[in-house]
Each structure stands twice: as C-alpha cells, then as structure tokens.
Symmetry: D2
Amino acid sequence: MKTKNISLGLIGAGRIGTFHAETIVYRVPNATLVSIADPAEGVAAALAARLGVEKSTSNISTLINDPDLQGVIIASPARFHTDLVIQACEAGKHVFVEKPMALTIENAKRAIDAAENAGVTLQVGFNRRWDQAFAEGRSAIAAGKIGAPQLLRSLTRDPGPFCADPAKIPQWTIFYETLIHDFDTLNWLNNGSKPVEVYATADALVAPEAKSSGYLDTAVVTIKYDNGAIAVAEANFSALYGYDIRGEVFGSEGMVTMGEMARSSMSLYSASGVAQDTLRKDTERFMWPYAAEFQGFVDAIAGERIEAPTGEDAKMALAIALAAIESVKSNAPVSIASVAQT
Amino acid sequence: MKTKNISLGLIGAGRIGTFHAETIVYRVPNATLVSIADPAEGVAAALAARLGVEKSTSNISTLINDPDLQGVIIASPARFHTDLVIQACEAGKHVFVEKPMALTIENAKRAIDAAENAGVTLQVGFNRRWDQAFAEGRSAIAAGKIGAPQLLRSLTRDPGPFCADPAKIPQWTIFYETLIHDFDTLNWLNNGSKPVEVYATADALVAPEAKSSGYLDTAVVTIKYDNGAIAVAEANFSALYGYDIRGEVFGSEGMVTMGEMARSSMSLYSASGVAQDTLRKDTERFMWPYAAEFQGFVDAIAGERIEAPTGEDAKMALAIALAAIESVKSNAPVSIASVAQT
Amino acid sequence: MKTKNISLGLIGAGRIGTFHAETIVYRVPNATLVSIADPAEGVAAALAARLGVEKSTSNISTLINDPDLQGVIIASPARFHTDLVIQACEAGKHVFVEKPMALTIENAKRAIDAAENAGVTLQVGFNRRWDQAFAEGRSAIAAGKIGAPQLLRSLTRDPGPFCADPAKIPQWTIFYETLIHDFDTLNWLNNGSKPVEVYATADALVAPEAKSSGYLDTAVVTIKYDNGAIAVAEANFSALYGYDIRGEVFGSEGMVTMGEMARSSMSLYSASGVAQDTLRKDTERFMWPYAAEFQGFVDAIAGERIEAPTGEDAKMALAIALAAIESVKSNAPVSIASVAQT
Amino acid sequence: MKTKNISLGLIGAGRIGTFHAETIVYRVPNATLVSIADPAEGVAAALAARLGVEKSTSNISTLINDPDLQGVIIASPARFHTDLVIQACEAGKHVFVEKPMALTIENAKRAIDAAENAGVTLQVGFNRRWDQAFAEGRSAIAAGKIGAPQLLRSLTRDPGPFCADPAKIPQWTIFYETLIHDFDTLNWLNNGSKPVEVYATADALVAPEAKSSGYLDTAVVTIKYDNGAIAVAEANFSALYGYDIRGEVFGSEGMVTMGEMARSSMSLYSASGVAQDTLRKDTERFMWPYAAEFQGFVDAIAGERIEAPTGEDAKMALAIALAAIESVKSNAPVSIASVAQT
C-alpha cells in the first residue's frame, strides 16, 4: 500500500460521521483516519474497531490536540460546529466542517478568522459541488456557455417516508441544514454574483401536526442576485421516490440542468410501461462526491490548490438562510444587508 | 367528405389567428371555417382566399352577426377580448377566446355573465391543458397517484432570440399574456385548490434598456394555495434553445413531470458527445394540442360534455396575474382576496 | 374550406384501410376521399357513410375505372397487391400500395413497368420513412454526420399480447409483411448502398405450437451491403410493452438512434421508482407519419417533387425478404443475386 | 486503517494491469497488493514504487511462488493466460485472470481442472457482470420480470479514433478479446441456457487496408440458444463518441435495456439544441465495476459465496468465439458442438 501520508481525525460518529469514516478508510487514498472522537461512551471505540482505526476517545479535546493529526473532520451536531472549528484551528489542524459551519454571522466570522490566523485550510461540507454533473454544469457556466445567468433553481427533497420525530428537529432546520446546500449551490453556480434579497415561504405539509411548535418541512425561497438573476430554492423532507437533488441554470445563451433520479441505466419494459428504479439515499447518491470532497481536503492539506467551499462560502449561504428565516417570520422580502454585513 | 357540421368564424388574422385558421381547416374534422374577420384591410380576404374559406370581412360585427356561424374564435389583441366575447355571446354564438379573456376581474365577470345569460359555451385558449403529457399528469394527480400536491412548478420560456420591439409590448404582458398560462396550469394541476397569496419578482434581463419604461421580460411568482401547496411560476422571453414549457407537481406520494425539449427521438452521437435538436416554436410544440382544443370546442358545440377551460378558470388565472402585478409594484406578498372576490 | 383538389379512392376497408380512410378524411388537406371499394358486402358502404365519403362499391373494378379519381390507395390483402397496382396504372390512376407491393421479383417488375408505361406515380406504404425521427436520422446520415455507415439495426416488435390465430397468418408473413419495413428502412438509411448477402434465422417463440405448420413469429436477419456495412433486422409478434420500432446506424464518425417507447413526456415518480406509459398501437405511433405519407402522395399527384418510396424500393426490400426466406430454408447465407437480378 | 487481510499479487503491468493495481490499492478495502511482476525490466518496480506496493519482480515465477500471497491477478497478454492460471493454481493461489482465460477448449479445460484440483477460486475478468445496470437487468430476468428471453443483444464499441497498429493486433482479436465479453454477457443474461449454433460476419471497415493480413475490426454474430432465444453480438473498434457498451433482452413478458453513453446527468441546452458529453474510456466507464469485481474476488478468497464468472463461463464464451471464427472462415453457421464438447 502506498503510504497514506495525511493523518486525519474525525469528531462525531453519528450517521454521517460514520459514513465519512468509511469514506476516508475505503475510498480516499493518501489519507489515514488515525483517530475518532465521540462523547457518547463507546461509540467512537466501536467504529474505530470496525474500521481498523488506531485511536478512539470520548474526549474531543484529546483528538483535537493529538499531535499525530494534520486535519480534523467535524461531524458533530450543528450547534457545536463553530466552537470545534475554532478549537481545531487554534490547535493548528486543517479543518473540514460539515454544514452549517455556523448559525450566526458573528460565529461564521469567528470561524473564518480562526482559520486565517492559524494559516490552516477551512473546508465546508457542501457536497453537491463535488458531484460530477453539478461540477460540469458550473464549468459550462463559467466558460460562458449559457451566457449571463438569469433564472436558477436548486432543490433538495429528502427521501421518504419521513420517519423522524419532528419534536427532535431543531427549529429552522429546513433552512440551516437542508436548504443551506441549495443556497451555496446557487451562489456557486451564479458565478460570483451576490445575493441581495430573499423571500421565503414555508409550511409543515409532511407532518402538519407539528407546525404549531414551529416545525417546518416544506419551503420555497426566492433569491434576487446583484447580477439581476432570480433563483428559487425548494425543499421538502419526504420524497417517496427517493433522494431528489437537482439544479437548473437558465441564461441569455442557454441552460444547464443537473440531477436525475434513475439509479442506473437499466430500464424495465413491461405490460405496464417502462420503469426505472430510483436513488434512495444520500450515501448512495453522493458516495463518490463524498469521496471527492475528502480527496480535495487531503490534497489541499498536501499543498495543492483546490477549489473547495470555504468559510466565506458558508457565511454567504448562511446569510441567505437567516434572511429566509426572517422572511418567513415577517412574510415579507428581507435584504441580505439587513442580516449580514457581507 | 364527412359533412363538416359545425360552422365557425374567426376574428383576428394575425400570427396566431392565422395558425388557428389553418388548424381548423386542416386538422379539425367536423368543423368548417366559414368566415374570417380582421379590421386590417385585405388581411382577412387574403387568408380566406389561401385557405378556401368562404367569407371574409373587415367588419367584425358582420362576422359576429352572421347567422351562418355557430361558434366564434376570438384571436384579436388582448384588450378587445372581453367586449368581443360579450358581443358574440349576445349574438348567440358559442365563444372560444384566446387568453387572457379579460384584464380586470370586473370584465371577467361580465364575460362569464354574458355566456351564462346567452346559454353558450365559453372556452378559453389555455392550450397547455390539451397537451398529452400535461393531460396525463393531471389525470395521474386526479387519480391520487402522487398523493396531496405540495410543491408545483410551471414555466414558460419563449423561444429566442428576442427580436420584438419592447416599446410595442403592453405593460405587464409577462403576467397578463405569458404567465397566465402557467397560472391556469397550476390551478388546474392543483386539483381544485384555490390560490390564496402571491409574491412576484420581475426584471428586464433580456432587454434591460427598456426597463425604465416598465417593460419586464423575466419573472418568478410564488403562489400559496388553500391546500397548503406552494407553486412557482416562471417566465422569460428569450430561450435560445427553443420553446420551453414544463410542469412539475410533487406530492405526498410522488411526483409527475411534464414537458421536454427534444424535437424527436433522433439522437446524434459524434466526437463531441450526444445531441438532439429542440422544439423551436409554439406552433410546432403545440400543433396537436391546438387541434385538440378546437376539437374540444367543436365537440362542446355539438353537445358533448367536454372538460375545457372556462370563463371561471380565466378569472382565477387573472386573479393571480393581478396579484402578481400588485406584488411587483409593492415588493410584498399580495392576497388573492385583495384583488378579487373570487 | 379549401377546395380539396386531389380525388382519391380506397381499395380495402379492413383494419388499416379503415384507418387510411380516416387519415385522408381527417388529416390530409387537399385530398378528398371520393370512393371506397371492398368486396365484403356492405363494408365499404358502412365506412363511406360514417366518414361522409360520396361513393362506395363492392366491385373493385368500378372504383379503379371511376373517371372521378386521380389516385387509388390499395389496402387489400397482400396477395392481390400487384394485380391491383397494374389495373390501376392501366386505368391511368396514380397508385399508393400498401407493402408488400409484390411477393415475387417478377411481379415487382410488372408493377414497376405498369406505372412507368402509364406515366403515373407509384408509391409504396413504407410508413417509417415519414416518421420525423427516422427522417431526421436519414438526413443526418445523408449529410455525412456519422461518416460511412458500418453497422445498422432496425427492429419491429408488434404490440402484444399476440391474439391472432396462427393458422390464418400466411407462411413467411414475418418476412413479407413485417420485416419488409425494416429491410426498406435499412436500404434507405444506408444511403444508396445495395444489399449483397443475407443470413436469417427464425422461430415460433410466441406461439410454438404452430411452428410445425410453418408459422414463424421471431426472426433475426443479417444483411451485408456493398459498402461493407452490416445490418441486423429483427422482428417479433408480441411485445407486451407496446409497439416497438427502433433504428440505429453506426458509422465511422458517429451514430444516430431513432425510436422510443414513451407515450409522452409525462413521468410518474413514486415509491416504486419512475415510470412512463408506452405507445401501444401502430395507429397511435404512426398517426402523423401516416398522414405525412398520404400528404406526400397527394403532393406528388399535384406535381411536386416528393422523395417517397418507389416500386424499385419495394423490389429491393422484397429481394432481401426472399433471400431471408431462402436462408431460413437452407440455414445458410443467401446472395441477393441468387434471388433477384436487381 | 482496517487490516487489509487479503494479500494479492499482480502479473502484468501494462495498461489494464496498471489500472487493476490502482483499483486494488485505491478502491478495494480488505485487499493489499503485495507484489507486482512484469517481465519488462523496471516496469513492475516503477509501478510498485508509485503505488507503495511492497515487492516487485521481473520474474513471474517468483511472484507466483511467493508464500505471502493468497491470490494472483493475471493481466498478461492473452496467449500466456492459461499457463499462468495453471502455475498459480498449482502454487495454491486463488486466481483472477483477465479474459480470455484460454484460446482453445483444451486449454480452458486444463485451467478449470487445475483450479479444481487445487481447490482454489478461479474468477475470470468479465467486468460487465459487475456493472450496476447489467446486474440489475440480470436480476430482473432471473426474477421472471420479462418472461422467457427470446431476443438478446450485446455490443461493444471501443472508443475511437482507432490509433493502434493493425499489424500488432493478433488475428481474431475481435472475437477472442472483444466479443468474448458480449458472449459471456449473453450467456449470463440468457439465464442458464446454452448456445447451440453461431453465424458470424466480420470485416475491416475501420482499417480496410489491413484486411488482407486477416485483421478484422467490425463483426456481427448471431447465436441460437437451446431455449430458442436468438442473440446478436456486435463489435467495432472505433466509436468516435466514446466507449459504447449496451445490452438488451426481450422476452415474452417485456424487455430490459442496459447501458447509456451520457457521462453525467448534466445537459447543455443552447441555440444548437441539447447536448451531453459521453463516456470515453473503459477505465472511466467501468471504474466501479472493476472495483466490484476485485472486491468479489477478495470476498470469495475470504470465504464468502460470491456469484462471479468462472472457468466454465470462460469456456462457454470461448466456444462461441471459436464457432464465430469458424463461421467467418466458412461463411456458414457453425454448431457449438463442432467446436467444443461443452
């Protein structure tokens, strides 16, 4: 085996943390997952044992201060992200943090500053950027193939049936954790333009009984950009046909579309018509984009110039999320300037 | 030849009026186009001569009062629609009127009342309802195959390059004449639910120099319905790849999508990849839906029960257009109730 | 109505003859179906009454010699085709004959000669040539977009379930009546090249119990052309998913593919995946190609230069059918030269 | 890192051997590539150094007899395959051999016997079986979803432009090395049925100047099976649009199709229509199927029951290749029984 010369630690061994561990161990050459930390007793140890990872701990500071690690991957619950980013930066580690990097603009700035002061890489888990179709679409746009972007669309529909407990989902999750992907995707596809104003409408259509406690599972957000383009981001928590991630950018010279549902090119023709099976899970849909994003992180640590989502990108996506939340509260358009000095 | 037993007259021999005449002559059995009227000297006569239509006139009243006609097709400029509908109803003719049937709710009601009082059929030119894919989508929704609608999308992008003179386009055309199709389509696909509130944003991105005179060519409209569903309608005047008409309805049990751009199933594979040509014109894209809508009109005159867009449907779509216009003016959401007692 | 200035007569009011009558009456401007003949008592009269056709007769000669007719459409059983073509030519009528025009090369030559001597148009019912996708594919090939053709495929799968009585199907029908379409399509797509040698294999897989009486329902035919290209034609009598007509031409610079099964662009996404309904009948799949082929016939009668399948094309397709039949009998490749001096 | 507990050696560091090495090192957990052998001086060493593989040698026997290895991957030129399989089996190693496993039935039997006598796994490199779409198609067939297979198609078109030296391509390569994939695919998809008779036609259409020395680059093969199904396999060495691998199985109840050319779901719409880029290389098209086939090999060594192509499968595919070659020589159908006691 080639020496795996970038040593990584993982904070958080929940569903996605576990998958990130598997991705690094199985699908990222040049990286070694050296340590896993999770405060839940025994969880890190069990995962480390299963994957042959050397160290595990329930003390996150132990991992962050481990001199063997070059980079840290933060997959904790969202509310801890900012502080962990800052601690890791201060310990001199390169940082990969799952979205959202922060829940306030102030915190986003603190994280950005921490990375800058420490001179480390700070990469955010906007996985859609590493999907081949989205990357090809972005390249075509950047190459001018559709002219000036005028209308954009990005959507996230999580696979159903919805079986979470709405009471355990933090308020505004659909903006902070779901649509944050779409907000970043739109900013990125719109080729350097900045969001100006946001109008959002949201509802609890999947689990209407939970609406009174502030829970929302369906949202549509309109975003005006400083190049005149108008974007729509849309999310829902329960698509029975699978995990639906699509993007579309229409411009003065043409259009790109990205995303499809078919699981493979196999089509079955029968007396009832033609059918294809669909992609059902994020870990199936994004298996290789996840590998690519960690490969990018590892390559960046190794000194290569990688185009990856940064702390600034996270702050810009957050600004849209905050404006969308204000818009839902006020049922009025909200300017980005009013929620963030960006 | 079978006796063509429904006699029709056409008012307006402009671009779409001419195409409607061809459609009736060439593609609608059981109908005979007996007369054409157009105030522009010689225009009706020339078209009648070309298509073998018996009568022509530059006096519209002459046509409306022609006792030989059972039905009248109104394809004049939009601002004359209502009055012509009323005159034709009062003359006892069945009426097909191009969209928009009216530009005010008051006028919409007048047209509806006129048809009701005269006991004639009043059908509105929402051609998308007659497209096979949209009709199949609507049937699937009505049959419950996608559960309760939650998120809808309808878009119209006219084929580019845009080569009209913006100064000749009446203000708010994108809402009154373009998006009116999408508003009706969304109302129809949303299976009986009623629009409640509208937020619209619009801009002149195709011809920005004309914006100062109130011209708009790009718009995004968010509509909330009384079943909780949220719809987005979107339009642009210049799609370089052709005439782009699509619809999507997402519900609690699934999704339907309608519309595609490929002109045929022919794909060309070459060193540069795989390519298909696209549909370029409304008259190509909707050749057979246009024939179907007039067949429906003729069948209705002949006494069959036909599901076709009515004056009430036109009024409901207009209400959304009016709310959208108010929303653009105020940059705020506007309730349907504030523009229409529907 | 425009004067319908080409007067046509129809021989044969069976399934496809009836559909041809409807096509001419409803979907072909400039043509008037003036007379229908069918030897079965009352059949022509009933169809004529339903469609408003002026004359009907059970005497085919009456129709052929009717001085009111400019063109005759022959949709009788295949074994009568040649004699009817010759009679109609001798009566000075332009002739459209359903495939196969003849069942022997000798007869094909007699039909060609009769038309030539009479100076009339002789068009054969190879409807696939009038399908938009196939026509676009042929144009791309003729324009050199795929370079020199090297591998071709054409297939016909009739919609199932098969419910005919095998005993009533003449022997070799799969070659004479089904694959004859594919043979012509391949000759036409291969851009002027000539077939040289044929190998065919066939079986009764749909109704195996009928095989002992010579019935065949499944066949694969390999054809070598004088430009080196190798073609495969394939047929089956029972496709449960519908009427499957496809073509593919691979060349030195690329490939064209034609044909698809989806009935419309409507896709239904549900818990079981994504599905589309399929085209089920030839009259649905080829409704407009049928209209186009008769429009072409009418235009040719009116004096326009139309590219349409000729008697020579029918003879060439027949030569392949005959060679294929010989090949099945001998289980060996058979040269075109051995069955036809073409 | 998880202990990589299956130790593998690789024989042959040419184009595909190098890619196999990368696949094992980068994309197959649980496997360690311990040694590489290639007779060309320095080649194995360079690859081993680049990938961090422990050992390298120019002596193939050294590798085969290395007690550290559990399995050996044979990616040498085809003519050495059989002897290397036998040596590796005799050394007690599990064997993965690239196709073709043997060039004669006698040799195929020797290889099969060697593995049986040694009690080791013998897996053959039919990568198409590990492609998700083909595997799904095969599952649907095995589950009876298309009824009894009646017509099959499998094709291989290598990406062009062709830039090899025809003189360096061994005679009959298109059958032994290219179509062997399709022969195995058809046997496998046809669900346990056995080939009975073969008719093949082939030509040099890509490099016609080399035909006189026996070089062939285009072939079509018809195969009759003992369940009555008729299959067509087709190959060409130069598809300018990329690497084209497709399969189709039509049966009494329906059809499955597998394979597509689009590189991703990104579509670009522009004034010239809609376009997608295509897959260009086997290593791009089959990156993950290659990983899956080695994962299967490793899992089999680890004791799991894996459905993988065996020596018997290789012998059956070879029998078709041999019959096809005889058929080209004789221009007549050739029975499988005449080339192989299978």
